[in-house]
Amino acid sequence: MLIKIDFNSETPIYEQLRMQIIEGIARGLLKAGEGLPSVRQLAGDLGINLHTANKAYTQLKADGFIHVHRQKGVVVKQEVRPGVTDEFLAFLEKQLRPLAVEAYCRGMRDKEFRAVVNNIFRLLQNPKEE
């Protein structure tokens, strides 16, 4: 899978990395059990700090997306991904709230708001459409 880091973005590099790997898994571009480059390799290929790459991997590991294997190195997890936990629900609502509020103020109907979300879900289910 191609990973593209935007150096002018406000999103921190580790967050860009984390999001792209999660999206890769969601869209099936990264298969379960597939190997990922080591921290050193990834940082070297992207020309970013070792700590930055490490931070992304540490979070992905903590959230259960990847697994660091003794021999095989970093691999995409085989088993079911972290389910919808209460913490995640709380996090989701907290992140979504300001967006929903702003959309509401701008006069957006809940149906229109849901259409945006539906669109994202559809793209994840049919990766070829994009």
């Binding site: 899978m1 191609l2 990973i3 593209k4 880091i5 935007d6 150096f7 002018n8 973005s9 890769g24 990264l30 597939e34 190997g35 990922l36 480059p37 050193r40 390799q41 990834l42 940082a43 070297g44 290929d45 992207l46 020309g47 970013i48 700090n49 070792l50």
Partner: protein, 372 residues
């Protein structure tokens, strides 16, 4: 005989040096001009075209002059100074090439700064997580052949040792007379053996670098860039492995060649011929593929205005990479073909020291071979 060999030596060293350096501006990625990062569409800008052309023509003219002068002085000088003369000529060549390069580099950089090419552009760095899972180099098992050739050299040497003449000629000079001749001892084998081992180590090292070096992918056309990169690495790993194997065989054969044939022309022609083939091979590969496969004709879809991350400030004179914040050890050259080291990493210096030590060891082994 004298003239012919001198001309051949010059043609296989200095002439290709000038030629390849003259062509370098046309072999780089289109995101780099004379060691300066540029937006891809600027590559075709008339002023940059002129800078590249002026550089190439200056190099070709200087090259013709220096090469001609060197040939003349080599023909006129007494034979014992030929080695020094050739060394001096190559030194002068490198200095002149470097000066022309720096001039073109500064002109390009000046133009870029004056017109602010990179402001308002989004800089990207792209990688492919599965890059090294595909086939990017030839199999390392080919190196087994190196071991076999070295073993054969040893076996043949000791099995025919008794029938070898009392003095062994190691090389012939330009006039076809024996150059270095040494009395026969078993230590003689140290000479080809140490050279063979150094070549093997060197080729293994280059092979490892080709596999490990940073995967640099153009942000504008990532998929095509990945394909170019793969083909480039595979082709150069094949060249490295087989050219090196040929050299190992050559150094084994050269010891026995005088026994097989009395024909001095053959004895001189074999190593010279091999050098010419090896140099020509590298030239052809460079011209056909370009740096990182940039000259390969692959289907591209042109998109966006993305530019690659501009790390120009870490490239001293556009040619020497020094970036303490970059964990990469081997990176693609900006001007030229192949890879270079990140000089901010201590490991680079350790490797260079190690390399010098190995060369010193091989020289010492050869001295032992000749002194006994």
């Amino acid at each position: 005989m004298v003239g012919v060999i001198t001309i051949i030596i010059i043609m296989s060293t200095m002439a290709p040096l000038y030629l390849i350096f003259a062509f370098f501006p046309y072999l780089t990625r289109r995101t780099i001009c004379m060691g300066v990062s540029i937006p891809e569409e600027m590559f075709a800008d008339q002023r940059l075209k002129d800078i590249r052309k002026t550089y190439m023509i200056s190099l070709l003219i200087t090259g013709a002059l220096v090469t001609g002068l060197a040939a003349a002085s080599l023909l006129l000088l007494p034979e014992e100074y030929m080695g020094y003369a050739l060394g001096a000529a190559i030194f002068v060549s490198l200095i002149s090439i470097f000066l022309f390069y720096v001039r073109a580099y500064k002109k390009t950089r000046g133009l870029k700064q004056k017109e602010k090419w990179s402001t308002g552009r989004t800089e990207f760095s792209v990688t492919e997580t599965g890059f090294r899972k595909g086939k990017i180099t030839v199999s390392p098992l080919w190196f087994i052949l190196y071991g076999l050739v070295i073993a054969c050299t040893l076996i043949v040497f000791f099995s025919i040792y008794n029938s070898l003449p009392d003095t062994i000629v190691l090389n012939y000079n330009d006039l076809g007379n024996p150059g270095t001749a040494v009395p026969k001892t078993p230590f003689i084998i140290l000479f080809p053996l140490s050279v063979q081992l150094v070549i093997t180590l060197l080729m293994v090292f280059v092979y490892v670098v080709i596999g490990k070096a940073r995967v640099q992918i153009d942000a504008r056309n990532p998929e095509v860039s990945v394909a170019r990169n793969r083909i480039f690495r595979y082709a150069w790993s094949a060249y490295t492995v087989f050219m090196g194997l040929g050299m190992v065989i050559l150094f084994g054969v050269m010891l026995f060649l005088p026994l097989l044939t009395g024909n001095i022309t053959i004895i001189i022609a074999v190593p010279l011929g091999y050098t010419i083939i090896a140099v020509a091979g590298a030239l052809v590969l460079s011209l056909v593929l370009g740096q990182s496969g940039s000259r390969l004709k692959l289907k591209e879809k042109t998109v966006g205005k993305e530019i690659n991350r501009d790390d120009g400030r870490y490239w001293k004179l556009g040619a020497f990479y020094y970036n303490p914040d970059d964990p990469a050890l081997f990176v693609e050259k900006r001007f030229g073909i192949g890879w270079t080291s990140n000089f901010a990493r201590p490991l680079t210096w350790v490797l260079m020291a190690l390399f010098l030590l190995i060369i010193a060891g091989a020289v010492a082994a050869s001295m032992i071979a000749f002194m006994h």
